[in-house]
Symmetry: C2
Subunit: 379 residues, 2 copies
Amino acid sequence: MAQKQRIFTVHQTISGSLARRGTLELPHGPVETPAFMPVGTNATVKALYHRTVSDMGYRLILGNTYHLYLRPGIEVIKSFGGLHRFSSWDGNILTDSGGFQVFSLSRLRKVTEAGVSFQSHIDGSRHFLTPEAVVDLQCVFGSDIMMCLDVCTPYGYTYRKASEALRITTDWAKRSKEQWKTYEGESNGLLFGIVQGNFYKDLRSQSIEEIGELDFPGIALGGLSVGEPREIYSEYLAYAARQLPEEKPRYVMGIGTPEYIFEAVSQGIDLFDCVFATRTARNGALFTRHGMIQIKKARWEYDQGPVDDACTCTACTRYSRGYLRHLFKCGEILGAVLASEHNLLFLRNLMEAIHRHIESGTYERFKGAFLDAYTRGED
Amino acid sequence: MAQKQRIFTVHQTISGSLARRGTLELPHGPVETPAFMPVGTNATVKALYHRTVSDMGYRLILGNTYHLYLRPGIEVIKSFGGLHRFSSWDGNILTDSGGFQVFSLSRLRKVTEAGVSFQSHIDGSRHFLTPEAVVDLQCVFGSDIMMCLDVCTPYGYTYRKASEALRITTDWAKRSKEQWKTYEGESNGLLFGIVQGNFYKDLRSQSIEEIGELDFPGIALGGLSVGEPREIYSEYLAYAARQLPEEKPRYVMGIGTPEYIFEAVSQGIDLFDCVFATRTARNGALFTRHGMIQIKKARWEYDQGPVDDACTCTACTRYSRGYLRHLFKCGEILGAVLASEHNLLFLRNLMEAIHRHIESGTYERFKGAFLDAYTRGED
């Protein structure tokens, strides 16, 4: 199995920060970290050609097991020989376990020791997934990184219920690993464990210890950025991140704004993903160095300048804010396409700048300057 | 004014057909005819980057005066210096007069000698447009080809009402031309007249004579393909086309299926436009050499082949029918993007083949072979 090989190398650490530069060796090529992963829920990064995403330099995108299991279904993906061939994406794919979606999207879900039963949000059909089945699905997908099925809990959960969810999450992680072992020699995908524990420090520590003992090739912090206040996110991120093993890639699920990315990088996190960049793009919200702008606002009606004159995306090199506003006001697809490309290139450029500044030891200074301009919000 | 120059040259005619190859010299470069014009209602060919459209070889697209007048409005377009700069399209733009949209989209419309009053389909606001105002709008747009405001009538209209609509159309054409003359030296755009007359041959002949006398640089046949049976379309197309002046570009508005395009070309028509290719694409209907296919159908679920293996579009060179079906079933934007690109490239390739076959005198044979395969519908 792949975890026997060295899959992650840290090249550079810096003083005064836990930020680190690394390379993650995956079946479909190396990924430079820290890395932001665009989300491709239905095996498509919404609104964009795959080549637009890869031309930006993204080599690792995310797919959602829950969605792909329901549609097109595992038999279709199997017949195509996996997700890469089905979707014609030649980079790496990380698939989540579906745990988060079962808890946020599906209806009538019920967790037992055995697994989770739920009703599809698409057609109401009934399904039952076990940790073993979720590993099986991801092996059929041919995912480069697979995630264990876990029990996600929201902010504000009781200690008793969070503790019970944690117990099941650890049990499922063990079963996931056993199932993954059965694919030895067949699958090159790496299985990552997920830390839960809600917002209780002893539960977080317990989860990190239990997941750590299972020696997965990588570890994710789940259940952060689930509606808690910013300070709580920061506190629990810092608390948990320091306890994670040094030598393994660390992944925080579901974060993707510049503020949260900088904070995660500062805590030594290597991977993150979020729908934020593309979802808000489709609603007309665009990243700029001076904060996000809402392109639908009347103030842009006559504006002939680009969204961000330092950006090299199609929107910023060819179209004006006034024209983009017009596209959004008319509900034109091109607006969603241009905005999605812009926001993903913005984050890609941000990650490359973060790489350079970690390498030159100037990361924390860069972070300060960037966030100062970004949150001052000239626009 | 531009009509003093020679703007249209017929290079080749063939025996046994009225089909002809020509070049139309427009302010933003030459257009080889017969030419299909993609529709860009809101100054965007729906779902596509402008460069995708121009890379296919399209040098003339259509914009809708009615839509652009309502949104973003003439003041915005004026402040950008016209439609080309506003939308960043460096090819030619033909704008319709808005007549068709006023009659098909707006509410509470009322035609008088003076002009047409109507309520916006977007916000219910009240507007009044005269033939002169419509020329003014298109001059501000900087349209390469402008159309006269006309009174469109549906299939099944009475003779009396069709005759009255024709009388106003001719009067408005005269006023349009007078208004256009006032832009001499300022605008390079060409003003085309529109023939009406509904489905009454004497009215059609009368309209052709009256519009012909006004000596516009080009003439359009309006009021065809407005819901009449195929045979009636053919009959009236042939009847009217033969009476149009030889030396001028002839435009049939609102046609865009291979069957209708072939028929128009056979009657010596040089220009046509239609939303069909892009509108049906967004609904999952794709052109193939063997007829249209509906990609959402269950039969494509496991299909690993391309939509059309002779096509060089992104969808056909990179993605499978099965994956396209999946995108459409999930309502993914990429599905609409890929299908729109495919359908427009299909029509562009068709037009280029038509050009070659007119040049080599084999047009009617090509037409027969193409339509035989297309209508037999292997798929």
